[in-house]
Amino acid sequence: MTTDIARSPGNFRLGLRTFLDNRLAVLGLVIVIGLIVFSFVGPLFYQTDQVHTDLNSVELPPGSPGHPLGTDQAGYDQLGRLMAAGQTSLIVGVGAGLLGTVIGALWGAVAGFFGGAIDSLMMRVVDALLAVPAIFLLLVIAAIWRPTVWSLVILIALISWLVPARLVRGDSLSLRVREYVQAVRLMGGGRWWAVSRHILPGSLGTIVVSASFQVADAIIYLAYLSFLGLGLAPPTTDWGGMLTDGVDYVYSDYWWLIYPPGLAIVLIVIGFNFIGDGLRDSFDARLRRR
């Protein structure tokens, strides 16, 4: 992906223009940046104790003094909690999503490009890893290492690279027989050149869209981890964990424990997917207009 697209400013500008023309993509960008600012900058202005519980003020409704969004079952300020959780979710989501996508894209591109036995081998590795249930891996790893934010990034990335690997491999299989990829040989270029300059950029649309799904998936993944009791150690939390905890109160009228984290997840999923759609369009030179 280090082709001229990144180097040539004109190209970048064109892409940016196409991107900015896409109203949904801009909306996605606004949402994501908004959530990033909310999570990372918000706590500077809205300071709350997100470390210590306070059993004396649990489940206060929104609008209680000092708690515009109320408090949760442990007495944390819900608004501050959303910010703290957002940091974790965004780091894990973006980190794992991108890492997984990069690994997967490379793997898939190489497998598809070489084809034949190498493809079979690499795809069977994917099959094998897909077949080891993720929850099982998490459980084993939780028993050996204590989960931290960064170990979860790596862990989720290791689980999630399989899907982009498959998708990119499909693209790669069809791209490698294109004449413009074969022409690389004619120019004396090696395989790595073909993969990095033509196959990967050619599959960029798939990669970007799947990356946006991967980011969303990683964030939702954290919810499942919490649900299964494999989440992060308190007081660290994430939107998924908050939602999981909040779901316990689905029969109570504590809507502020469910809707805000739920909304945050919906927004981040929508945001990244809109950006992904927009990026795909702006990477595709044929769709660009001068």
């Binding site: 519980t53 059993l55 004396n56 007495g75 494999l230 308190p234 007081p235 109570s252």
Partner: protein, 563 residues
């Protein structure tokens, strides 16, 4: 949604979520010893000599016993038991040979029985003597207190149908006994045949099995030849499996079950269910709940070996607040080795020796040479073993810090410990890192063999696996707190405690009280609130189901629909 369309021929009872009874032989092998297998399943068909639990009380229920009250000799070294005139379902009488059959099987296969504790039954039975068909006499190796022996030992005996299960007098030889038990256990490993295998048709209890599926759909029908005191009044007793307590709750809402659990988190749905025709009955179990401390951990062992540190930490646990906020009022305070609830004649320590008192905690630590920094990190200022010093094995600058492995399977427990983490840190500068960990892993770690000399087996520092530990009917605590106790996870070892425990086994109420008071004072583990075992909803009109057995047993023969 309900009302008159209730089927009064049947009682439907929710099994404990995620647990399906799967061992029919009343001799449970290790791993199949949970109360769902015994108290809720095989004991419905084969009654123990003495029934643990009397209504909601943890004492024995003489109504359901198979024998009259045992007669102990004055030297407390022998006991004579006279069986009631009850019959097996095939009409044959229940005799002392059936009791001997059980003892023989256990005696020759002690480790294959989950209830076996070295030195206890059957090791402490010197001789068995059948006085007549209905009377037998046990001579013991040591003197015992009657309450202890009846409550904790005789209640384990389950007379088995020797005429149906035995093979002549084979069980009297070691090889024969092994062969017989082998065969029985082999049959018990075929759950798919539980309802059909003729072996399991000879029962002493009020029920026989009519349907059993391996996924937990179980139907009992009355044993028509039952000669015991309370005969079933319904045509069927059905046990219904649930994957989660949410699923069971949904079934309650749909009116599909007669007795089932209300999840803690849905406590505010109580009124809704009450409107639907259910009664709220919290189910209290005879357990103690605590935060286990590892005395052999190389890092924190020296800390928890200091009584004043344990006492200081105990002073920082605000049990009423936790019960109120975390368990929504559904739990009992607890300050010693004998639970205060369910109501019982044993507990004497009714007032907390260490009620919540942050000043006391700080003072205790300061007085013992700690530099206490509430909100920060408390460290040892003056090391040494003298008065006013931190204590043995604690160097200057040692932080007062622990890691707690806490069950991740129960959210309220996790929240409880999470709040404790804050309190410890904020009030006394004690670091207490909560690490959510799956239950299986905690007990694997916490019960791993580990000694102070070879501490590599015990990396854990403190642990909460949730649900606490069961207490014996006569609550002497030798398994939990004696230095050789089989369930003494943290390897607590105090010569005085050992002495008091041993005395309580042979002695009377006085000795029991001394033991209880000493341990309450010593805080061998940090006592934490004891939440209810289950918040049951019982359908209105189902009488007798409200006295829920503190050993989690069920006695549907005592339940009946109001006409």
């Amino acid at each position: 949604a309900q009302g008159d369309d209730i089927d009064r021929d049947v009682i439907r009872f929710a099994e404990f979520p995620g647990v399906v009874p799967n061992w029919i032989l009343p001799i449970t092998d290790p791993g199949h010893n949970g109360s769902p297998n015994t108290m809720q399943f095989s004991f419905l068909m084969w009654r123990p000599l003495f029934w643990r639990g009397n209504g909601a009380e943890p004492t024995l229920d003489e109504r359901l016993a198979l024998a009259e009250e045992p007669a102990y000799a004055d030297d407390k070294r022998s006991v004579t038991v006279k069986l009631h005139d009850y019959n097996w379902s095939d009409g044959k009488p229940i005799t002392s040979r059936d009791v001997e059959f059980w003892i023989n099987l256990i005696k020759h296969n002690p480790t294959r029985w989950s209830g076996y504790v070295k030195g206890n039954i059957p090791d402490n039975i010197d001789t068995f003597e059948a006085v007549d068909d209905k009377t037998f006499k046990l001579t013991l190796t040591e003197p015992v207190s009657a309450d202890w022996f009846t409550g904790n030992q005789l209640s384990l005996i389950v007379p088995l149908p020797h005429h149906a299960w035995g093979n002549g007098d084979d069980d009297r030889t070691e090889a024969g006994a092994k062969a017989v038990l082998d065969r029985l256990m082999e049959e018990s490993k075929k759950p798919a045949e539980y309802a059909t295998n003729p072996l399991w048709k000879t029962v002493s209890g009020p029920w026989t099995l009519s349907k059993y599926t391996t996924d937990g759909h179980i139907t009992f029908v009355p044993n028509n030849a039952y000669t015991g005191p309370a005969k079933p009044t319904v045509k069927r007793f059905e046990q219904v499996p649930f994957t989660t307590e949410d699923a069971a709750f949904n079934a309650l809402v749909a009116g599909d079950i007669d007795v089932g659990p209300l999840p803690f988190k849905n406590l505010n749905q109580r009124e809704r269910l009450e409107k639907d025709g259910y009664t709220f009955v919290p189910w209290r179990n005879w357990t103690v709940n605590y935060l286990a401390l590892n005395y052999n951990n190389p890092e924190t062992g020296p800390l928890v070996r200091q009584t004043y540190i344990r006492q200081a930490m105990q002073s920082l646990i605000d049990q009423p607040l936790i019960i109120d906020k975390v368990f929504n009022g559904q739990g009992a305070q607890q300050y010693g080795p004998i639970p205060l609830e369910p109501a019982n004649p044993y507990a004497t320590v009714k007032n907390a020796p260490f009620p919540y008192d942050e000043n006391k905690a700080v003072t205790l630590l300061r007085d013992n040479g700690w530099d206490v920094k509430p909100g920060g990190q408390t460290t040892c200022k003056s090391p040494g073993t003298g008065p006013g010093q931190c204590g043995e094995g604690i160097e200057a600058g040692t932080p007062l810090a622990f890691e707690a492995i806490v069950t991740s399977n129960r959210r309220p427990v996790l929240l409880e410990m999470q709040s404790q983490q804050s309190v410890f840190q904020q009030k006394a500068g004690i670091a207490f890192q909560v690490q959510p960990t799956p239950f299986a892993q905690i007990i694997t770690e916490a019960f791993a063999p580990c000694t102070r000399e070879k501490p590599d087996g015990c990396p854990w520092q403190t642990a909460v696996w949730g649900g606490g530990s069961n207490v014996q009917p006569y609550p002497t605590g030798e398994q939990l707190f004696h230095s050789t106790g089989s369930s003494n996870a943290g390897h607590y070892s105090d010569p005085k405690a050992d002495e008091l425990i041993e005395a309580s086994i042979t002695g009377g109420p006085e000795e029991l009280k001394a033991f209880e008071e000493y341990l309450a004072q010593q805080v061998p583990v940090l006592w934490v609130p004891n939440p209810s075992y289950q918040l049951s909803m019982v359908r209105n009109g189902l009488q007798g189901a409200d006295g829920q057995n503190p050993y989690s047993g069920v006695t549907p023969e005592l339940w009946n629909w109001k006409k």
